[in-house]
């Protein structure tokens, strides 16, 4: 399954400046592992102790994966995965 992944500005140092890259996998976890193979360092920015970082939002198409199984969220050929760091503070 090939998906397109939109990379936020802050993580583009890992993709040579590319705004979007393609990756393969049947679940979000597999997509992230594949991203890591080609763009080392990305996984640590997204996953901590086997779960998505609390302050990173990941969407498959329009759905927040928090409500779709997190790392186990299914992806289909042609899906768009969007990564957006949470905008937060105190």
């Amino acid at each position: 399954m090939a998906v397109t992944v939109s990379i936020p500005t802050i993580l583009r140092t890992h993709t040579g400046g590319e705004k979007s890259v393609s990756a393969n996998g049947a679940t979000l976890a597999e997509v992230i592992d594949d991203l890591e193979n080609n763009h080392g360092g990305l996984k640590a920015r997204l996953v901590k102790e086997g779960a998505l970082h609390r302050f990173v939002n990941v969407y498959v198409n329009d759905e927040d994966v928090r409500f779709a199984g997190g790392l186990e969220a299914q992806v289909k050929d042609g899906d768009n995965v969007t990564i957006l760091p949470a905008v937060a503070g105190g």
């Binding site: 302050f55 969407y59 503070g89």
Partner: protein, 136 residues
Amino acid sequence: MLVIRRDLVDAMVAHARRDHPDEACGQIAGPEGSDRPERLIEMENAERSPTFYRFDAAEQLKVYREMQANDEEAVVIYHSHTATEAYPSRTDIKFANEPQAHYVLISTRDPIEYELRSYRIVDGVVTEEPVKIIES
């Protein structure tokens, strides 16, 4: 330096006053690369808290898509402090992920006089910058 129209400053302050004592948050989009804030978008504070803010994740995606379609970016990211000064807190610094953005803070702790200041936050380093208001 942040150069910004008076009506946008007034709109941020009005939003902060309206949501007081909870923190208000939002962004001002502008053409990509222009450094010119033009279109203010009030964001839902998903935390609804007097000490914390977080853009609602679904709304954030929707606005992000709009900005991409318009070739815009977030020129200003603003939020209010309702009991403390308009200076970035430790959590503000920790979660600052947009090195190209002006981080604007508005303090509403005084019911009459507001305080509005702007910063760059890059790699955990806060640099205050002057704010030049253009009469609109």
